[in-house]
């Protein structure tokens, strides 16, 4: 599986990428939505893990743009917010059921990625 991680917290996304990489997962990361859009121009990813709240372009908007470029890509959202109702409504609007709340459990993240890929 080839994974693209996107979060504006660079230290978070780079450490998470390293941990996934140690588990044999092929992973790249971006700390801005614009960087993520550039990366998909030259590489193919099976799944994108996106932070919901990012400056300039939210994770929900990024998903919409990535889907235009990569229709088969699967998505998992990550949020720091505990406000479940608002978040579920946003996910429903974005057409995905996969989400995780920070701080992440890497085992749960890998489980969710496997589930999303089996869809």
């Amino acid at each position: 599986m080839r994974v693209l991680l996107v979060d504006d917290e660079e230290e978070l996304v780079s450490a998470l990428a390293e941990r996934l990489s140690l588990r044999g997962i092929d992973v790249d990361w971006a700390s801005t939505s614009y960087d993520a859009l550039t990366q998909v121009e030259s590489k193919t990813f099976d799944i994108a893990v996106l932070d919901v709240k990012m400056p300039k372009m939210s994770g929900l908007e990024l998903k919409r743009r990535l889907q235009e470029k990569c229709p088969d890509m699967k998505f998992i959202f990550v949020t720091g917010h505990g406000s479940e109702d608002d978040f579920r409504a946003a996910l429903s609007e974005a057409g995905t059921a996969y989400y995780l709340v920070k701080p992440l459990s890497i085992e749960t993240l890998i489980d969710k990625m496997n589930q999303a890929l089996k869809e």
């Binding site: 450490a15 941990r19 400056p55 720091g80 701080p103 890497i106």
Partner: protein
């Protein structure tokens, strides 16, 4: 309670909630980073147990990153505590420069979501006024919210305080898009209620791209 008191109460609660949500989001991020670094340390320890040599420099680097996030989290908690105490006294002698700097700290994350940088310009001499600090912080937050929308992404909004003949004024500069925003929506009812409560006046200067908030020296 008058309708104006109701509006001020409601907008105050909204401000309190929005600020608490923003700060707790920041805190979650700091904790999430500590979580990943701790996880990485555990991964490296497991690899060392299995025979992979451990690089002491890597451990030092990870420990420093954890400490950096602990300092960040401590700063967030200090900010939350200071904000919580901002309602302790309804009338207080304050340094407007300090109020602006704290207001910029509270609004920085929300501004950065719009791609806008907030730049409080410090003055060497304190600009002191007697006012309601929470109402003022609330009004400043609403002005900053409007200003960041008017400035547009990639821009910097400056915040400065200066003494005037009758009190002091706050200037929000760099609002180049003022001409394009709907000025008939600002100041709205809640801003007007806070302006009245603070005995303040707000001027929107489209040509200069700035908001000027005039405050009395003493609210009483």
């Amino acid at each position: 309670m008058s309708w104006k008191s109701d509006i001020i109460g409601e907008t105050g609660l909204q401000f309190y909630g929005k600020t608490a949500a923003s700060l707790s989001h920041e805190m979650k991020n700091a904790l999430a980073i500590i979580n990943e670094h701790a996880g990485l340390l555990k991964d490296l320890a497991l690899m060392a147990e299995a025979g992979t040599p451990m690089d002491p420099g890597r451990l030092t680097s990870l420990a420093e990153k954890v400490m950096k996030q602990i300092r960040r989290a401590d700063g967030i908690v200090t900010t939350m505590n200071r904000f919580a105490h901002s309602v302790d006294e309804s009338i207080k002698d304050v340094d407007l420069g300090e109020i602006l700097e704290f207001g910029a700290t509270l609004s920085r994350r929300l501004a950065s979501m719009r791609g806008v940088t907030l730049e409080p310009r410090l003055v060497t001499t304190p600009v002191r006024i007697t006012t309601n600090p929470f109402f003022l912080q609330n009004l400043l937050s609403l002005c900053v919210d409007f200003a960041t929308a008017a400035a547009g992404g990639g821009k910097t909004v400056g915040l400065s305080a200066e003494e005037t003949e009758n009190g002091a004024q706050v200037r929000l500069t760099g609002l180049e898009g003022l001409g394009e925003v709907l000025l008939d929506t600002f100041p709205a009812t809640r801003e007007k209620a806070l302006l009245e409560a603070l005995r303040a006046q707000l001027a929107v200067d489209t040509e200069a791209g700035q908001l000027v908030l005039a405050l009395p020296r003493d609210i009483d």
